[in-house]
């Protein structure tokens, strides 16, 4: 009996380490990648050309998102599962587009902060040409992705953030999406930035 329990304990410990290791890999990848991408972003801004964060990446940073709390996230060009593991992804919009800039991210890593957002709060996006765009959150919605198609307004003055909902759901792959819409802020913060410098 004791021997069986000892064996069970060993099994459980092994499984525990395996699960924790796997989960740490997912979270660690999300955290570490952003630091690597930060470097690629600086190069992008300096050279004005897309820059892969590491040579075998199938994606590259296209924007930098600043949260109301001052946290920054680097947005990648792609919303494939591979890209989203490393950072939020661009779904539509951006330079030369007449569509709303639409970004998607994982609810349990980069876009976990969406849960804390409220209407009226500011969001800032820096695009690859160096321009800063300031937005103000106007609306938060929960949408069932199985019943409603994704609509992207033909309006480049909007910013849309998409993540999975609910935030504390146990399993991935659910149908609900949390959609935050922000509109271009009227104040000219670029000038403020310049005076600060």
């Amino acid at each position: 009996m004791v021997r069986l329990e000892r064996r069970l304990l060993a099994f459980s410990l092994a499984a525990l380490l395996g699960l924790a290791g796997w989960a740490s890999w997912l979270d660690g990848k999300a955290w570490l990648a952003q630091h690597l991408i930060a470097h690629a972003w600086q190069t992008t801004l300096a050279q004005g050309a897309p820059q892969r964060p590491w040579p075998w990446a199938d994606t590259w940073p296209v924007a930098r998102l600043t949260t109301p709390a001052g946290e920054t996230f680097y947005v990648l060009e792609s919303t494939s599962g591979e890209a989203l593991a490393f950072g939020p992804g661009r779904l539509a919009g951006g330079i030369g587009s007449d569509q709303a800039l639409t970004l998607a991210g994982h609810r349990d890593t980069h876009f976990a902060f969406l849960e804390t957002l409220d209407a009226g709060q500011p969001l800032t996006v820096q695009l690859a040409n160096g321009s800063q765009k300031h937005f103000q959150i106007s609306r938060q919605q929960v949408i069932n992705s199985q019943q409603h198609p994704l609509h992207i307004p033909r309006d480049d003055q909007q910013l849309i953030l998409i993540t999975c909902y609910p935030f504390d759901a146990l399993t991935p792959g659910g149908p609900l999406r949390y959609v935050v819409t922000a509109t271009s802020a009227p104040t000219s913060n670029t000038e403020n930035n310049q005076t600060e410098r």
């Binding site: 099994f11 997912l26 050309a49 199938d58 919303t79 994982h106 198609p149 998409i162």
Partner: protein, 657 residues
């Protein structure tokens, strides 16, 4: 009790792993765009497609009619992408709203867009057709009143795919989403149209298509049939009337129609003529006989196979089957190599290897292990393949198997021009919607040919055809002689060799009408044939074909380094005169009366393209969660289990002590 808990936890862990895998698979297909709107869900815009096709010899004239119905309560704007076939040119458009008709006109692109925007802003109805890529056209219909139906009627002409005496008409009815690598900047296209490259997630399904074909092949037919759909036909002398058996067909695969001319054993020269405002155009079609000569030159065959993500599903199976078949047909003593590419590329052998049982077996294993994933980084793969050291005395033939879902076409053409040298390039298009414009042009650059395979059953026939073509040219030094005093602006300017299975089209604009033309060439001896041009009859499409050849040639000069500012006015001039859509010209049709009250908002609605038959459908919503929270919680539960077991053991140990 505890044991049960433990095993159920183990089970949960495995389920979580399976879910994670499934989620990743789905996310890999979900990378593409897009639906428009104001964030609100609107009822579907219905779409109906009707194609009427008239075929004369190597040219088809198509009238495509599409109906948009605004079933919502608001004024709306619809936007749809035309998947036009390769070698097609738009030459007319009619917009019908209710019982009013508006005939479109062609204009310089910037002016057409300005007119469209003005019309849209002032509440007028407008429809714009522009060339985004050579075979992608979009139409946007603004200001559709609630409950109203708007019909866009588009006329285009097309040169057909020809193989020996066999002709193929292809009507593309769906799209492959395209991938543009970041390092080579995509060509600057107007942002108004950029967002409609692929639109898999709109509100409305693209509806069914009804198709009617009138066929006059110019000679007696040996066979007639369709590999994609069941058809029915009626014959009236030399003319055939053809419709799909099912009536209206789903828009999930291209329609193919094949027919074959009777082979008399002699080169056949068919001629066509068109007179437009006193300008005379002639088209010659030289069809080689089927029996060819085989080459004695040893060959070096370099295969390039695309195993990127867009090849996933049926296309990858077809590509692998094609390559396996090609490997079987290699002759002992010849040389070969295989390059496989997606985001990276791999060469099977360091340098081309001699064909032997051993090397063939290695190649077969290599091909069997190929899997579709990753991006389409074609350029480095092409360069690596072409830069392999040439083997003296061997004729180098490059066979490129891909769906052509790539955006940096100019870069690839430039690489071909610089690196191909004396080698021939043969492209094999795979899947239900390959980028055949790109592959046809690439094969022209490489003096080879383009083979299209869209079904597992066509692999054998397609590769047979290709290998017959790899044999030496049937006729060299081809020349077209005109009577004294008559000159022609001719495309192609330099006549290529005549290959087995590949009829040669020569389009000419004549300085004066003439009936007497002589075509000559050299195979083992001098060959020549007099041709009588039917100057008293008109073959619609002849002049347009000439104009398109001229524009294609001019555009190729840009690829080869000519300044676009020099070429653009020349292209614009030809395009305006022949009513053709090009990179610099668009069709525009504007209604005179205002139909939208100024206070009513304009909502957007994108009509969805159906995903190509046989590939996975891209989801519009991204997957935005990882299994990490689940894993952490499972780990937490396991931690408690471990603690409990450990405590229990300690207590048991104490008890025995």
């Amino acid at each position: 009790m505890k044991i049960t808990l433990f095993f159920s936890l183990l089970l949960l862990t495995f389920t979580a792993q399976a879910n994670g895998q499934r989620w990743q698979d789905e996310a890999a297909t979900g990378a593409l765009l897009l639906a428009d709107g104001q964030g609100q869900i609107q009822p579907a815009t219905l779409l109906d497609t009707d194609a009427h096709i008239t075929v004369s010899g190597p040219v088809a004239e198509v009238t495509l009619t599409q109906r948009f119905h605004n079933s919502s309560q608001q004024f709306r704007e619809g936007r749809y992408l035309f998947p036009l076939p390769e070698n097609a040119a738009v030459d007319g458009m009619v917009l019908t709203i209710g019982d009013r008709r508006i005939v479109g006109r062609i204009d310089r692109k910037a002016e057409a867009e300005k007119t469209y925007r003005q019309a849209r802003a002032s509440g007028k109805k407008a429809s714009l057709v522009s060339q985004q890529r050579p075979n992608l056209f979009t139409t946007a219909v603004a200001n559709i009143a609630p409950g109203e139906t708007v019909q866009v009627e588009l006329h285009y002409q097309q040169t057909l795919n020809v193989d020996g005496h066999r002709f193929q008409l292809r009507l593309p009815l769906t799209l492959t989403p395209r991938f543009t690598p970041p390092t080579e900047a995509p060509h600057t296209l107007d942002s108004l149209l950029r967002n409609t490259v692929a639109a898999p997630g709109g509100t409305a399904d693209a509806g069914t298509a009804s198709i009617h074909i009138d066929l006059d092949a110019g000679a007696r037919l040996a066979t007639l049939g369709s590999p994609s759909h069941a058809i029915r036909y009626q014959r009236h002398g030399r003319r055939y009337t053809i419709t799909p058996k099912a009536g209206a067909i789903a828009m999930d695969r291209d329609l193919l129609l094949n027919w074959e001319l009777e082979d008399t054993g002699e080169p056949l020269v068919a001629s066509f003529h068109e007179n437009i405002d006193g300008e005379h155009y002639a088209l010659l079609m030289v069809v080689p006989p089927e029996a060819g000569q085989s080459t004695t030159l040893p060959r070096e065959t370099l295969f390039i196979i695309d195993s990127s993500g867009s090849m996933g599903g049926a296309p990858m199976r077809q590509a692998k089957a094609s390559l396996q078949l090609a490997l079987q047909r290699l002759k002992p003593g010849d040389r070969f190599n295989i390059t496989d590419f997606d985001s990276q590329h791999t060469l099977l052998f360091e340098t081309p290897a001699t064909v032997s049982d051993n090397s063939r077996q290695q190649a077969q294993q290599f091909v069997a292990g190929l899997q579709a994933s990753g991006g389409t980084h074609m350029l480095p793969a092409l360069s690596a393949t072409l830069s392999q050291p040439a083997s003296d005395g061997y004729l180098r033939q490059v066979i490129f198997i891909t769906d052509g879902a790539v955006g940096n076409e100019h870069g690839i053409f430039q690489a071909l021009h610089q690196q191909l040298g004396e080698a021939r390039l043969f492209t094999v298009g795979i899947g239900s919607a390959p980028n055949s414009h790109f592959m046809t042009r690439a094969a022209q650059f490489g003096r080879g040919s383009f083979t299209y395979i869209n079904d597992q059953n066509q692999v054998q026939q397609g590769m047979d055809t290709l290998f017959r073509r790899l044999e030496s040219p049937l006729m060299r030094n081809l020349q077209v002689q005109l009577p004294n005093g008559i000159v022609a602006e001719r495309w192609p300017q330099k006549l290529p060799d005549l290959y087995a299975g590949e009829p040669l089209l020569v389009a000419m604009k004549l300085s004066a009408p003439t009936e007497h033309i002589t075509v000559s060439g050299y195979n083992t001896r001098h060959w020549q044939q007099p041709v009588t041009l039917p100057t008293d009859s008109n073959h619609p499409g002849t002049a347009s074909l000439w104009a398109r050849r001229k524009i294609a040639d001019l555009m190729d000069r840009i690829t080869l380094g000519a300044a676009e500012t020099d070429i653009a006015p020349l292209v614009t001039d030809v395009a305006l005169r022949h009513q053709l859509v090009s990179r610099y010209t668009s069709f525009i049709a504007v209604e005179e009366t205002v139909s939208r009250p100024a206070h009513e908002p304009l909502l957007h609605d994108t009509v969805r393209n159906q995903a190509p038959h046989g590939t996975q459908r891209a989801a519009a919503w991204p997957s935005t969660a990882t299994p990490a929270p689940l894993l952490w919680r499972l780990a937490g539960v396991l931690l408690i289990v471990c603690l409990l077991l450990w405590l229990h053991q300690r207590r048991a140990n104490h008890g025995t002590a």
